[in-house]
Amino acid sequence: MYSDPTFLVIQTLNGLQLAMLLFLLSVGLSVVFGLMNIVNLAHGTLYMFGAYFGIWVYNLTESFWAALALAPLGVMLLGMFFYEILIKKLRNAPPLQQVLVTFGLIFVGLDAVRMSWGNLATSIPKPEIFSGSVLIFGEIYPSYRLFIIGLGILVMLVLYFCLERTRVGSIIRAGVDDREMVSCLGINVDLAFFGVFCIGCYLAGLSGVVAGAVFPVEPGMDMSVLILTLIVVVVGGLGSLKGAVVGSLMIGLAETYGQVFIPEYASVTIYALMAIILLKRPGGLFPARAVQ
């Protein structure tokens, strides 16, 4: 029955949906990582705050769209705050100190969420127009999932345009390649990097709201996506948009197909895939910078 083409299409859509969520989460992390050499383990915490801010806004306005518009901005402000008071100081600190600080932020963020919103799992209601389903080759499919796929593709295109076709984009790309050189040209690389950091936070918040309508919103949701996101980042290679796209597609589809076709090994499919890729390509598939 699994060879039925409709079944395959449905499952591929499921995989794409997961891939797009992972893309929103990982692209910011990957570029920040590649550009600024900052190991931000608290990226999942930003995603969690996105979901909780979303619930907060939803409860006030009864509108999913208000939540989608406002919550990511809130997360971005939060990110900017922590950038100013902490992360800026760690720009040139050894990676292990960054690990310790961002791990500390995970702990603090988790308890902040528990204190503000309690421990119980909850969820964001889907928007009215995407709460139903559509027919795909005669199969019922949730339209919200198609919305996620569409949103992911939209963000992808916008980022592609910004990075490849604008001046800021070329500064960022050059900055990843050779930061010293760009600084010498009198360009404020730090400002460009700060912008990238903010966009990364925004996208993490955005994915939090979007995912909050499908996945449970609960303390600890940060840790469950952190690992997936890091896997996407290393599989794709640090610092490149192409890497984030390919990485999230591979991991999203592998996770889904794994659950369908080899359920016995579903919990290790992506780990095995990552291990194989890293052994063949120790710097990931499309790193922005060649590995020294």
Binding site: P95, L100, G104, V108, L110, R114, S267
Partner: protein
């Protein structure tokens, strides 16, 4: 110039004396806690070999602790083996598995090494979680302790078991300390500092890394075997990546690159979280702030910073130690 009394050894001696003294004076639960923390300290030292000395940041080290625990549990409970040979086999098995893993992973660097070790440990975790023969996620209970009647220790007495773990910890410390001050250890530190230079000097970098990966795996296996004996059970939770993560945090908090730093980190972080979690359910908030404070105010870690001030102090210099 080799010195016998380095600051590290001095502090190590102090810690051991203190623990021995405490294991006599504190109550039952305190003795249990000493054993628990001592085992954790052994595990932390083994991770520090990788993180602090070889620059290999592993987020999957708990896998080898788990293998040590499971080997001990399976051999004694399901096959009725004696504990002493079981412990040796557990250590050897952890070493063997780390050799098999190490051959593939030591080539990787930075975040890629972190992630591949994480992947490996998660696969082991998934295996034991699924395997209902070994108890699945409920784990395997009924593990006994090493019989030490011959040495006058009754291991079911918590004070004696605490002493036993302390003795093992001391032996591990001495062994690793000697290893790290040997040429092997100095090459390793050299690799950590400048890999390319060592490579051009003809040092077989990968082999050194593999060797330390295996040694660290064996020590982790030993701590796993001890932990199984202490708690009397083993469950897949012991090898989940967060266990590796927490111990990594302990090592960094204590100060990497010195065995004593790892021990200090394990002791302080464990005691603090234990105490704070008795007082408030929001203990993670305080631990998080504590970690952030360490980086801001004691960037070399708790012990690392302490050692730096000590070595600068007049007292330490006047004791005839220009530097160590």
């Amino acid at each position: 110039m080799k010195k016998l009394f380095t600051l590290d050894r001095f502090v190590a001696l102090f810690l051991i004396a203190l623990s021995l003294l405490l294991s006599e004076s504190v109550e039952y639960y305190g003795q249990e806690l000493i054993a628990e923390i001592t085992i954790l300290a052994i595990f932390a030292m083994s991770l520090d070999l990788l993180v602090g000395y070889a620059g290999l940041v592993s987020l999957g080290h708990a896998a080898f602790l788990g293998i040590g625990s499971y080997a001990t549990g399976i051999l004694t409970v399901q096959y009725g083996w004696e504990m002493f040979p079981t412990m040796l086999i557990s250590i050897a098995l952890a070493g063997l598995v780390s050799a098999l893993v190490g051959i593939f992973v030591v080539r990787l660097e930075g975040i890629f090494f972190i992630m591949i070790t994480l992947a490996v440990s998660q696969m082991f975790h998934a295996y034991f979680l699924k395997n209902r023969e070994f108890g699945g996620d409920d784990g395997m209970p009924g593990i006994q302790r090493l019989d030490l009647e011959a040495f006058g220790l009754t291991v079911f007495d918590p004070a004696d078991f605490a002493k036993f773990t302390l003795i093992v910890a001391v032996l591990v410390y001495i062994g690793l300390d000697l290893l790290m001050s040997s040429p092997f250890g100095r090459y390793l530190i050299g690799i950590h500092q400048n890999e390319n230079r060592m490579r051009s000097l003809g040092v077989p970098v990968e082999q050194y890394k593999l060797a330390i990966f295996i040694i660290a795996g064996m020590v982790a296996g030993l701590s796993g075997s001890l932990q199984a004996q202490h708690t009397g059970f083993v469950s897949p939770d012991a090898m989940f990546w967060t266990v590796s993560g927490v111990v990594l945090i302990m090592v960094i908090a204590g100060g990497t690159g010195s065995l004593v730093g790892a021990v200090v980190g394990a002791v302080i972080v464990r005691l603090l979280s234990h105490q704070i979690s008795s007082l408030t359910e929001h203990w993670m908030l305080f631990m998080g702030l504590f970690f952030i404070a360490i980086v801001l105010f004691a960037s070399d870690g708790i012990y690392g910073t302490f050692a730096k001030y000590c070595r600068r102090s007049r007292w330490w210099k006047s004791a005839g130690n220009s530097s160590d």
